[in-house]
């Protein structure tokens, strides 16, 4: 086996892919975060039907692998005469996926604001919206920061699935470079190292934040089941 050294072109190509991984992660986090907020609020809405609909949405999305969601959007929609570019398909699939997980995590955070705080706000004649915005959410945000940072690691890793629908992010860039130099062990190790460099600081931050807020022991019961440690 002859070893072709990695040239500057190939390195540049990989880094270019890494940039797209970052962009895709940001799209997924921002879009998924916005939609996830809506989902979380629906989960604690006063109307039973709204709560139930949000619960079904979360179950359905969390029960579907993001890879399958991408297949559905990228390969499935053309079957209905709708052609979707790979970036759009990947972004949409990730946004929907993130929204369900963040929605469930944030619901746990909202519900873990102690009951008396809800009542105190109610007794001051604050409207439902005011109670949420002025009293509950500011307290929920603090609880939500560590698990949200932790989940962002899963989002970065999940962007690698976009390679499967042909979008050239880091994993796909690795495959392409590998096709020309054929050193899969080296290339995929390098790719893994780049992902690690992106994810580890966030994992570390998550751990520091968790420790500061008291970690597992003081995590509200509503959260323990809601916090996934997604593997993909």
């Amino acid at each position: 086996m002859t070893l072709v050294p990695l040239g500057p072109n190939q390195i540049a190509f990989l880094l270019h892919g890494a940039v797209w991984t970052v962009v895709l992660s940001l799209i997924a986090c921002l879009g998924g975060g916005a939609l996830g907020m809506v989902v979380a609020l629906c989960r604690v809405a006063p109307l039973r039907a709204v709560r139930a609909a949000a619960a079904v949405y979360i179950q359905a999305v969390q029960g579907t692998p993001p890879l399958v969601a991408m297949f559905l959007l990228y390969f499935g929609l053309p079957g209905l005469g709708l052609n979707v570019p790979s970036l759009l398909a990947a972004s949409l699939a990730l946004i929907v996926n993130v929204s369900a997980f963040l929605g469930e995590i944030w619901r746990g955070c909202i519900e873990s604001v102690p009951r008396p705080q809800w009542e105190a706000a109610e007794c001051l004649a604050l409207s439902r919206t005011q109670r949420m915005l002025r009293v509950i959410l500011p307290q929920a945000v603090r609880i939500a920061i560590p698990p949200t940072v932790g989940f962002s690691v899963q989002v970065i890793k999940n962007t690698s699935l976009a390679s499967v629908v042909g979008f050239v992010e880091l994993a796909r860039a690795g495959q392409i470079v590998n096709n020309s130099v054929f050193q899969p062990f080296l290339i995929y190790l390098l790719i893994a190292a780049i992902y690690f460099a992106m994810c580890f600081p966030l994992s570390w931050l998550n751990r520091v934040l968790e420790r500061r807020t008291g970690g597992w022991r003081r995590r509200p019961a509503a959260l323990t089941a809601a916090i996934p440690v997604v593997s993909a």
């Binding site: 692998p65 390969f75 053309p78 890793k157 994993a171 690795g174």
Partner: protein
């Protein structure tokens, strides 16, 4: 726009075969990963060189995508002369992957053991093994059981990624069906529904398992019901 699910439904034996393989992969990885992860969690707790190695393993796995881990194991190892079949790589990579998450979850569960508990066990004259089993591991597992169960369900869903090295699980089966029927939309809708169903089945399974494993919780639940 017209839907034609019937030609896709006709391929049910392929879906069934794929679903069974997905479950098989998941069970293998869950059981093996649980053993590895629990051992790692104990090593992490003990610290030392072994604990350090486990820490590196856990961080390396948790901070890289499963897809890349699979490629590294399938194509990378082959290029170094280790030829493993797609099924072996699939089970191995899923096991290694979920082992790291289990280690992290169990570590958190062990950490939450109240300090006095171990002393109480020692004072009662329990052996090391008995303390590990009754005072540390089982209560820790009970504490983190919901997280563990979620993680194993997520593992089953993540196993869809192994279709990329042509392991013949559910997603790969669906890929085959859609290329045969030219009905990609219907195929992938059905595929998504099957995964949702599989995850519900797994959740039910874990709930039933909890019923057997944790009698205390069962009694508490009945008392509050």
């Amino acid at each position: 726009m017209s839907f034609d699910f019937s030609s896709v439904f006709d391929q049910w034996p392929l879906f069934l075969h794929g679903a069974l393989l997905t479950l098989e992969l998941s069970v293998v990885a869950t059981v093996a990963g649980f053993v590895i992860g629990t051992a790692c969690a104990l090593a992490l707790r003990a610290g030392g060189v072994l604990g350090g190695i486990c820490q590196v393993y856990v961080e390396a796995i948790r901070n890289t995508p499963l897809l890349v881990q699979i490629f590294l194991m399938y194509f990378g190892l082959a290029s170094l002369g280790f030829h493993l079949s797609a099924f072996v790589v699939a089970s191995l990579s899923l096991t290694v992957n979920v082992g790291a998450y289990t280690a992290e979850i169990m570590r958190a569960g062990l950490e939450a053991t109240p300090a006095g508990q171990i002393e109480a066990g020692e004072c009662l004259g329990l052996s090391h093994v008995q303390i590990y089993r009754h005072v540390l591991l089982l209560p820790a597992m009970e504490r983190v059981y919901p997280s563990l169960a979620s993680q194993f369900v997520l593992l089953m869903l993540a196993s869809s990624v192994t279709s990329q090295i042509s392991a013949e699980e559910l997603t790969a089966a669906a890929n085959y069906v859609q290329s045969a029927t030219f009905r990609p939309f219907e195929t992938f809708i059905l595929l998504a529904a099957l995964y949702v169903a599989l995850s519900l089945v797994m959740r039910l399974g874990f709930a039933a398992l909890a019923f057997v494993l944790f009698p205390r919780r069962r009694r508490l639940r009945m008392a509050t019901a």
